[in-house]
Assembly symmetry: C2
Homo-oligomer: 254 residues x 2
């Protein structure tokens, strides 16, 4: 990240931060990207501060690129967290002690652990494309299954809860999958994504009918081979129609 942390903070908004819940889909499960703070076992969401000359959205993009190696990640702002005590839900004093053991006493004075309002974003990424990369504060960055997410620092568990709710809401009103699946995928794979996000099962015949009725998918002549069953067709999104359906809004009513 930045060579000199204090220099960076001089060029950034101090009372506002942003945090990103990065969703990936792998082996039938939703995953989120978490970071472990240096010298501690405390985990948090990827986040950071907004530079004086960049918008909040630009900052979220910059941070996401740094953490994932990806450009043009799908990003959605969903809520801003402004509780007085949002930094004190968890024992930040212990965390601070451990961090100061690593960085030196007083290092973080005036940098973190003040009153900060945080803008929450969620991101949708292709799991396989991500290169999880720790930042200046952390020495580990990796995927966690949503079900296994531990107690996080600050109010980040609440952030994930809200991000997931926002994602579900989005899924009910827009097509989903372009950002979470590889370019080509089978209908059962797409269905599993929907089932995972919305946490319910669908009849595969009705699911196929509904999805095809949106006219955003193209069935290819290829099939996925190798599994111990009938080879399923591969599909891909027709980007223009996918975007159009997203702009107009569809109602996934199943």
């Amino acid at each position: 990240m930045e060579h000199n942390l204090k220099e960076f903070f001089d060029k950034a908004l101090k009372e506002v931060s942003l945090d990103c819940t990065v969703f990936g889909f792998h082996e039938g499960e939703l995953k989120v990207l978490l970071l472990r703070w240096k010298g501690t076992d405390g985990w948090s969401l990827p986040g950071g501060h907004i530079l004086l000359d960049e918008s909040a959205d630009d900052a979220a993009n910059r941070i996401l690129t740094q953490r994932t190696g990806l450009n043009d990640v799908y990003l959605q702002q969903f809520h801003t967290f402004g509780n007085v005590n949002r930094y004190t839900y968890h024992p930040e004093n212990e965390l601070l002690e451990k961090l100061e053991a690593t960085f030196g006493k007083g290092f973080f004075d005036g940098i973190i652990f003040r009153r900060v309002v945080s803008i929450g974003y969620y991101a949708l990424v292709e799991f396989d494309q991500v290169q999880p990369t720790p930042d200046w504060f952390t020495d580990e960055c990796r995927w966690w299954s949503l079900a296994d997410v531990p107690n996080l620092l600050f109010d980040h568990n609440e952030m994930i809860d809200r991000a997931l709710k926002a994602l579900r809401q989005h899924t009910r009103n827009h097509p989903i999958g372009y950002n979470l699946l590889p370019e080509k995928f089978t209908m059962p794979e797409l269905q599993r994504l929907y089932e995972t996000i919305l946490d319910r099962q669908f009849d595969r015949r009705n699911f196929q009918k509904l999805l095809m009725s949106y006219d955003i998918l193209e069935r290819l002549d290829e099939k996925r081979v190798g599994a111990a069953n009938k080879s399923p067709y591969l599909y891909r999104f027709v980007k223009e129609k996918y975007d159009q359906a997203g702009a107009v809004g569809i109602s996934f009513s199943m």
Copy 2:
């Protein structure tokens, strides 16, 4: 407001503000509350800063109480505005000059017109209950019909646009009316509210059937008299069921 502005700002977050789009419903139209800045003809949304010891939601409530005289206003955070130039969409230099003519040169240095991220809320209120009250910066506070809203200061026109979109989205997934209508109202009045928010017409027979199917309304024995037609029944929301329906979420599909 505060007797000493600079004293207030010492106890508040400086890089974060919040702005409220206050919706009222009157004579079949949606209205919003706007403020005219002292000594100028520039209008803006009601807003303010967050005190160090209050949450963003508390601040929004405090500000709304100050502007409307109401407690416990229905408030919903909908978006945070973080563009770099959100204070420069409009000729803020001219505004600043006029304000300094009123308050004295340099009065606002370090107080306004810096880089500020603003949290957008919308509020739903009973039009008749509101006592529009200007704040420290303004000398007029009044309702405007949504259709007549002029060019506002900063990015406040965009804020209203987004607030309205959020309100429409909310209306499609939750019951609406408890906060916008008086306690007792007729079915045609409720229908007109829906038609105004969603900007389309409904068949009154189907509308009545659908609304009654939610089981959130109670028909009273009273009727509204005085108009040159058949006296319509009065209805009122059953608060518990209204809240329950709001928590579960309903789908207004018409």
